[in-house]
């Protein structure tokens, strides 16, 4: 009995922990999608965020600077995506995938040149957990995630910026005929995407663990794209989807002791992704202008 309760406790805590990066990245995706930009580059933004956070923490020895560096890393990649898609009207899928490959390549090269190691960075300072009653020791970024979800929901659905954002994503021409500066709204949303995705990457490298590992995002950026859709392009939905995938991730920890091959267990999050894509996503209507480049 006691061991079962223990297991539930482990699953609960680790579900929350695992849900942080996916939720943050999915909310990041919400801002892009609502502005009509397909955020397929989330994986790359997260990876850049994770790397820069580790680097920042390594150089400054300060996690806050690490966090800031991670955010900047995410924003750099997202701004690239923004400039390519908004200014040069590159296909969103191509730009996104291209930037993911770029981020993967650059972080590997920099790992080698800075630390002389292909696999991982040395250990760096990481964010120390805070104590919260009931839940116990938990990362402050969990609180940040919840705050981000609530604030994002308010911004998107309760402010004039949110209304304009949604209009731009649905029908950019309609938005521009009523005097909304479409490109400005798109750039703002792209930057918000970069901030949140960078934060999500930073969580992976200087909170979840305390070093950067090559390809440490392991497809979470792509999962976040799916969670974004599953959550109906809504931050609260993204949190729900994030928790679902956090749960799928955390079952691994509990099941891995038993007699199930490890490879099968590691497949769980990706299988959940496939199932979601097959069954849930079909009925969700994306913003009408998503991924489309409008000629001005």
């Amino acid at each position: 009995m006691g061991s079962l309760l223990d297991k539930i406790d482990i699953i609960l805590i680790s579900t929350i922990r695992m849900s942080v990066p996916i939720t943050l990245a999915a909310v990041a995706g919400v801002f892009s999608a609502r502005a009509g930009i397909m955020a397929l580059g989330l994986e790359g933004m997260m990876l850049a965020g994770a790397f820069c956070a580790a680097l920042g923490s390594y150089i400054a020895g300060n996690v806050l600077i690490g966090l800031l560096a991670g955010i900047i890393g995410g924003v750099i990649i997202s701004l690239f995506h923004g400039i390519l898609t908004i200014r040069y009207k590159v296909d969103h899928v191509i730009s996104g995938i291209g930037l993911n490959l770029l981020a993967s390549g650059i972080t590997t090269v920099l790992l080698q040149t800075i630390w002389g190691n292909r696999g991982n960075s040395p250990e760096v300072n990481s964010i120390s957990p805070i104590h919260i009653p009931i839940l116990g020791e938990i990362s402050p970024l969990v609180c940040v995630m919840i705050l981000v979800v609530i604030l994002s929901w308010i911004v998107i659905f309760k402010t004039t910026f949110g209304l304009r954002l949604r209009m731009v994503g649905e029908h950019p021409k309609a938005a521009s005929t009523v005097g909304i500066n479409v490109n400005r709204v798109k750039y703002i949303s792209v930057i918000i995407t970069g901030i949140l995705a960078g934060l999500s990457g930073a969580y992976l490298s200087i909170d979840h663990v305390n070093l950067f590992v090559r390809e440490m995002t392991a497809g979470r950026g792509y999962i976040a794209v799916v969670v974004n859709i599953l959550g109906r392009y809504n931050p609260v939905g993204a949190l729900g989807g994030g928790l679902l995938f956090g749960f799928a991730d955390s079952i691994q920890l509990v099941l891995s002791g038993d007699n199930i091959p490890g490879q099968l267990i590691q497949m769980i999050p990706y299988i959940v992704t496939l199932l979601v894509l097959m069954f849930a996503v079909r009925y969700i209507r994306p913003p009408a202008g998503l991924g489309k480049n409008v000629e001005d």
Partner: protein, 506 residues
């Protein structure tokens, strides 16, 4: 002092002079129609006024003040609003949100939805619209959406309203309602500019007409001093025969017969017990308010939709209910689709390829499964020539042609294959006067060869002038049929709106 005065406006695009020294002015409280064929420069002129284009030459003054309008935002600030032909609305947002977006009422940092709703409500009541601002735009009909567009302009305090082809997408009833609204707005002192190429609308609603042709002002006239025919001549630049009755003199045997056609959608009948026939050398018109089963009828009679019950004969040959569209084509049934962009043409393909769509399997164009490029090219050039399609060559995308020329590609494709019967749905929708005249002429020529046409059109004038007989559809049933000239306009109006006893089930 005029509300708007545009003087000597010229606008050049690379290679074309879209506007050449055009003058235009409108008074306060006036409905002024801007008439011209597609490409005459009406829309360009209005885009100049709305700040979407900058003129190369000329001056604009609003209420006596010289202005330069660099963007739609500046135009709105000067009190100019525009209702675009393709609505600028977001379907998933509410009416209120659509109307106030860009000039939202605020409550501190937040968007004040309640204030938006009450303001929109008040505005709508002022002009006599009954709408619920909380409803989403996607739930609205096309006519209602247009009202939302008008409200959007009014919300911004517009005094000069430009409407670009506002009736193109409306049903006749909605057109009436729109005109009532426009007259009301005029009473309130608004200046309304109506871009159109529909002559009877001008005669009905406008106070003044300015005719444009090839980017030049042809003249400004008062509708009461002129006639539809005269306007058509001004617009096209030569004598045009409008709505000439031309009845068939040589009607032969039954060629095409539909018996007991039933089509259900769920448990509701879309079409019920339709019986009709076409004889050689006649045009049968289907009259009815849109949405009374016309679309479904077209789809069944061209093999795009399987009926629940039907007996269809062409000559002696019976077509099975399970036949696909290709079998209908092979049996000699040509189809001019309702929506040319959707079903008639592949806009991103060349004229050449569009010329053989649906007939691409016939031996002439194919050898051992490979297209005979030269033969098809020659055929396309032949169609371009015979059907007077204005195009540089046969390789350009159909989407780059004007509506009239696109329609001619379809007409050419069908008629050149010599079908027995043509199902012609809205053959002249969104087509300019010159092309309408040409298409009607071709249809009559085809009829006189002893073929038959089933004409489905929302334009009652077109039905009356072309058809030898008329069938009236109401809620999926034939409520009356007979010789065209036996029906008066009032009769048709009553029958089309279900005025007589109908034995349909609900």
């Amino acid at each position: 002092m005029n509300a708007v005065e545009m003087h000597g406006i010229s606008k050049e695009f690379p290679g074309v002079k879209a506007l050449d020294n055009v003058d235009f002015s409108i008074n306060k409280g006036e409905i002024h129609a801007l008439l011209g064929e597609n490409g005459a420069g009406k829309s360009t002129l209005m885009k100049v006024l709305y700040g979407m284009h900058q003129p190369n030459m000329g001056t604009i003054s609003i209420k006596g003040k010289d202005v330069r309008i660099n963007s739609p935002i500046e135009a709105i600030k000067l009190g100019i609003g525009m209702v675009h032909q393709h609505f600028m609305l977001v379907p998933v947002l509410t009416i209120a949100e659509n109307i106030v977006a860009g000039a939202e009422p605020k409550n501190g940092l937040f968007f004040d939805l309640h204030k938006a709703i009450s303001e929109v409500d008040k505005l709508a009541k002022d002009v006599g619209f009954t709408i619920d601002p909380r409803k989403k735009v996607e739930e609205l009909s096309v006519g209602e959406r247009q009202r939302i567009e008008i409200l959007k302009a009014l919300y911004r305090g517009v005094e000069i309203l430009i409407l670009d082809e506002p009736t193109a997408v409306l049903t006749p009833l909605e057109v009436k309602e729109l005109f009532t609204t426009l007259r009301q707005l005029k009473q309130k002192g608004m200046s309304i500019i109506l871009i159109t190429h529909k002559l009877h609308e001008i005669m009905e609603v406008s106070d003044k007409v300015t005719v444009l042709r090839d980017g030049k002002t042809i003249g400004t006239v008062l509708p009461k001093d002129t006639s539809a025919n005269e306007l058509a001549n001004m617009m096209v630049g030569r004598e045009v025969k409008m709505g000439v009755k031309c009845r068939s003199t040589n009607v032969g045997d039954k060629l095409f017969e539909v018996q007991n056609l039933c089509l259900k959608n769920g448990d509701r009948f879309c079409l019920k017990d339709i019986n009709l026939y076409l004889r050689k050398g006649e045009i049968l018109g289907i009259a009815g308010v849109e949405g009374n089963g016309q679309t479904e009828l077209i789809e069944v009679l061209t093999g795009l939709r399987k009926p629940d019950k039907m007996c269809l004969k062409i000559g002696e040959h019976e077509i099975s209910n399970n036949a696909g569209a290709d079998e209908f084509i092979k049996s000699g049934i040509g189809h001019i689709p309702e929506d040319r962009g959707e079903r008639g043409l592949v806009l991103d393909m060349s004229i050449k390829n569009n010329c053989i769509l649906g007939y691409h399997r016939i031996n002439r164009f194919i050898k051992k499964g490979i297209f005979l490029n030269n033969v098809i090219g020659k055929y396309a050039r032949h169609l371009i020539k015979t059907f007077k399609i204005k195009a540089v060559n046969e390789e350009i995308h159909v989407g780059t042609l004007s509506g009239g020329n696109q329609q001619k590609v379809i007409i050419g494709r069908i008629f050149a294959q010599n079908p027995e019967v043509v199902i012609a749905a809205q053959p002249t929708r969104g087509v300019d006067v010159g092309a309408i005249e040409y298409i009607h002429h071709k249809m009559i020529e085809f009829r006189d060869e002893g073929k038959a046409i089933l004409l489905i059109s929302a334009d009652l004038d077109e039905i009356k002038s072309l058809s030898d007989r008329i069938v009236i559809l109401y809620k999926g049933c034939v409520v009356a049929q007979g010789v065209t000239d036996d029906f008066t306009d009032t009769d048709l109006g009553i029958l089309m709106t279900g005025g007589k006893i109908s034995n349909e089930e609900r």
